[in-house]
Symmetry: C2
Subunit: 466 residues, 2 copies
Amino acid sequence: MASLNADLRQRPVQQPVSVAETNSDDSSATALAQVSASDSDEDDLPMKPSKPSQASDKTSEALDSALKDFSPRWRNWVIRGIFTWLMIFSFAFMIYLGPLALVLVTFALQIKCFHEIITIGYIVYRSYDLPWFRTLSWYFLFASNFFFFGESMIGYFGVLLAGTDMLRPFATYHRFISFSLYTAGLVGFVCSLVKKHYLKQFTLFGWTHVTLLLVVAQSHFIVQNVLEGLIWVLVPVSMIICNDIMAYMFGFFFGRTPLIKLSPKKTWEGFIGGAFSTVIFGIILSYFLLQYDYFVCPVSYDESKDALSMECERSHVFVLSQYNLPETIRAFFNLLGIKKTTVSVYPFILHSVALSLFASVIGPFGGFFASGFKRAFKIKDFGDTIPGHGGIMDRFDCQFLMATFVHVYHSSFIKVPNPQNIVQSVLMLKPEQQIQVFTMLRDKLLQRGFIENITTTTTTTTTTAI
Amino acid sequence: MASLNADLRQRPVQQPVSVAETNSDDSSATALAQVSASDSDEDDLPMKPSKPSQASDKTSEALDSALKDFSPRWRNWVIRGIFTWLMIFSFAFMIYLGPLALVLVTFALQIKCFHEIITIGYIVYRSYDLPWFRTLSWYFLFASNFFFFGESMIGYFGVLLAGTDMLRPFATYHRFISFSLYTAGLVGFVCSLVKKHYLKQFTLFGWTHVTLLLVVAQSHFIVQNVLEGLIWVLVPVSMIICNDIMAYMFGFFFGRTPLIKLSPKKTWEGFIGGAFSTVIFGIILSYFLLQYDYFVCPVSYDESKDALSMECERSHVFVLSQYNLPETIRAFFNLLGIKKTTVSVYPFILHSVALSLFASVIGPFGGFFASGFKRAFKIKDFGDTIPGHGGIMDRFDCQFLMATFVHVYHSSFIKVPNPQNIVQSVLMLKPEQQIQVFTMLRDKLLQRGFIENITTTTTTTTTTAI
């Protein structure tokens, strides 16, 4: 136990959370840290203010020396740019590998984000003397992932799971198993309570749960978006990246008017330039992706091939549709001598404008929220995983909110109940219930006159028979 | 604004959260409060230790004087007993009023629980100078209730809602509206951030969200249980009450061995006596309730009467079933000269034992969790709404966990996909899709040989016709 403790106490040194230079704008964070320190026993592990993390990594050290003739502003910009492209290429490679690779990457990134936020909690509240609690946090991460990813898998591959003897009970009793896992964690938490540390333990319990809510629940929406078709991840993720880069560049070159106190570097010029660029970029990217079935088809299980399929009959949003032009635009075209009353557009292009607007208007609030959080706890970045960018969480702050928006947007305006899914849910019932559904449905459809033909045929033949 | 502030600052006086006598077991809570105080401006509102709340109410003062000849131990017991029965009778009255009254009561209790916990947060973190934030907390409560109760209503009365022109868009776009509401709250939170109070604001943001998760999400399960049939609420709620009372009484009369440090009054004798009584009580209560359709039928919408209906064809768990007796019990009966090989039992009685065991073994951990929470923040009760019991939350700590268990248990082991619901979901599709589902289902069932009869008939008549 003693050696475990010692090991845990060393962690903060191996994995430093970079702390911002002391701007004394919020004295309570430091005060809180001091209180926690006075509460914890003899050993002293202060949150020493360290330099921002850009220089802490070998790769960026090499880059730093190569770029030493540039001004710091430009140097930062170049490092950031290089790693931006590196990330874009790795992302493209994941897309090439297919949806299941993307699901795994989402999973890995989510764990890293959870780790970054939880580590900050441990350091802020100096909980090196609660080794049990660290295990519990990871246990809760496991339990909630078991629940969320299980729900996605059952939603999309339920029929596949129900066909496998070993997995069927997991699919059938998934919620019960998840609840049992969670309850075991709760009981474990209650049993781990130590008189001396009640407050710390409850604070970290809350910290863990808010993190689960923000990171795990939202990353689960990314997974669902992947399964609905790669375009539903590719377009929004790129939009956030584009908005980030363009807002940065517009701000860098034209930035004058500060936008929000939380992020002093953000300007109105960057905000507007970013939004404008994102809409244009979104349209172009969507148009490009719409040419390939690979990007627009949901992942589905092909029973005949016994394999996952990326082919489909396109949903109506991915098929060219004729729209009537409004009167004013028609008049304008008339002036130019063009006789055009309709226009052919993929409906998805119109949806992409809605997504762009969210990505550039509401999306940044995810970032402001993260900025505020970092300032509240006096840290500069969530970690130092990506040189020039900070931690994974620093890049994902807006992606989570965006993914949730896309998920809700898709299920509200795009997704139509799939007849195939309904039929499959019927086929999972008991035989007598399947027949019951069939006869009830037949009677209702007869009553509504939708299947008159069939009855007519039967009736006619019967009449002839008589 | 100044008067509003003043008003808010007075609240803690009007609604005192009773603070336990200072046991110096956890110095950090006081320390934290002091930090927050030093962080907040000039005025001083210390959390003065006050007497436990039993004496703070007029009713209980009158009772106190009537019971002055009893020892304090007995007096507390009598007051607690009287209010226990009062609560039981009000609960019975609600049952009499029917499921929708119960839903409304759940709603009211949930708001009160939220209020109690949030008030503790405000007092602990001394956030009287953040009036905006108080509004935001209630806004988040509204938004999450809109989401959760909407989901329940759509799940149970979707067809009804879809038939009303005014409500249809709410049903169709419910998740999008909920998400927009929540996002507006998030944007509001980011905009309300004040440099001086970042840490406090983020702490209370987390506090609010954990409360929403624990109170709102779980109370929503109570609502769903009500809609599944009154027995699914009546039995578990009574079990928790029975276990509480019996554990208290067994502990009071026979208690010797302390059970858990968190709640020094809890004893092993009470724990075991409570569990045993709860199983017996659960069986008797279930047997009684099973005699009436009113308690076992889910709330459903009767299209022919255009009204809510409490009649149904009983689910198999509410119908007497024959079970074969195990060999050993049969042998035992043989010795007594009874020739019995089968026994008739309502399956629900067996399920009630599972519920009892959860209520008495895991249920108390909900209470321990609440105890730990109260100790962490140095309060004796969550409020003083019910004399002898404390706040509403003090009585509901175990009910929430139990309701979640019942919900998960019901949906895993009891609920069978209802053929009627599936048919109704088909009828909500477009006509051509309804026909598509019908023909796909017919082909699949023909293939599986489930509806051979129908085809045979058709084929035969056709043949005759030729």
